[in-house]
Symmetry: C2
Subunit: 216 residues, 2 copies
């Protein structure tokens, strides 16, 4: 059976895909991608000039009780298509190995998978801000926001260099950490590298699912 | 004065540079890069087909007492060239914001700098192994190896998902952590994405500066 290639599209700017990823998309017979109302992956594929006829959106209705059933159904659909198409790609926003939607599917896919890395929104935000993520012997920590004040306080107080992702999911907790002066030096960006990119000065202003916080 | 563009070359495979970074290198009038005996950056630039006449190696003799003097001299040289060339690029291995050699220079450069991110060797190694770095609410930690048993023990015991970089610098400490069963599930790769790429089964086998350890 053919292998599935999983390509990281990068943070949003179509030119931030790798040359290798771009070549694979151009050569692919069929390209699956996660379909969301934000259309991040779809917009990147269209901007790259991919033929719409070979683009196949896959839905993962997050709040659905049947999510697991849908994931298995999509995994089965992808696997089956490997028998009919020589070059099948699954395209994901950011980096496929870092919090990507593909990772939910991965465990149900009974086929060989090869990954092409992508620029994550964290690396891209650091580059746009011009702020080093970490230097020399410094530790760098990626913290998905969790709606738990004590947990987030502990994580943030132990982190000199890091990034909080999915920030909106714990907006009230982050606000309280800011008020209590546990959250000090930070930089916030939403829609990293897109035309709609926005920089916030204050945690209180966060209003988007796609906002991330760089901690220094 | 013109701006300096800092381009991440990615982990080693020339095709793992971003499309944006590649275009910038092709359009550049002058390309600085860190010169080491390993020639990582130089080899990527040559493989990408960059005109050798516009490539300018910069030495950073790590063990030299005059390192700071050399860094300042290189910073001055780069800044001066911005007055004579329209498009000056500094090319670094991996991602410029993550432990890159450019970050030492950055604080001494009195000019505007723009960054193009690159794939780090950690993201590339995870992709090649097919091992997720982190999923959902999991934390991911990058730990530069430090030659201190208690410090590394504490860091490793607190890390479910992470990567140890510069592993050879603390090889004996890592060996002891392995013997004492503090280091359990790990994957080691050196020269990530290059033809000389090598996967190790045991910490004891690490023999290269370019080896990194993925922790799960």
């Amino acid at each position: 059976m053919n292998e599935l290639y999983v390509v990281g599209l990068g943070p949003g700017d179509p030119d931030l895909i790798t040359v290798k990823g771009y070549k694979m998309l151009m050569d692919a017979d069929l390209i699956y991608y996660p379909y969301t109302s934000f259309k991040y992956a779809e917009n990147i594929l269209i901007a790259l000039g991919i033929d719409k006829k070979k683009m196949q959106p896959l839905e993962f209705p997050i709040r659905s009780l049947d999510l697991l059933k849908k994931i298995r159904e999509n995994a089965c659909r992808i696997k089956n298509s490997l028998e009919f198409y020589d070059s099948v790609v699954y395209a994901v926003e950011g980096d496929p190995m870092l919090y990507s939607t593909f990772l939910d599917l991965y465990r149900y896919l009974d086929c060989k998978v090869r990954f092409i890395p992508g620029i994550s929104s964290i690396n891209a935000a650091a580059a746009i801000f011009g702020i080093p993520m970490a230097e020399k012997d410094e530790i760098f920590t990626i913290i998905p926001a969790v709606n738990d004040y004590e947990y987030m306080k502990k994580m943030i107080m132990g982190t000199k260099n890091g990034a909080i992702i999915k920030a909106i999911g714990a907006k009230d907790v982050l606000k309280k950490l800011l008020d209590d002066e546990h959250l000090k030096k930070y930089y916030i960006m939403e829609n990293v590298s897109l035309k709609s990119q926005k920089i916030y000065n204050n945690i209180n202003d966060i209003d988007s699912y796609m906002a991330l916080v760089i901690l220094k």
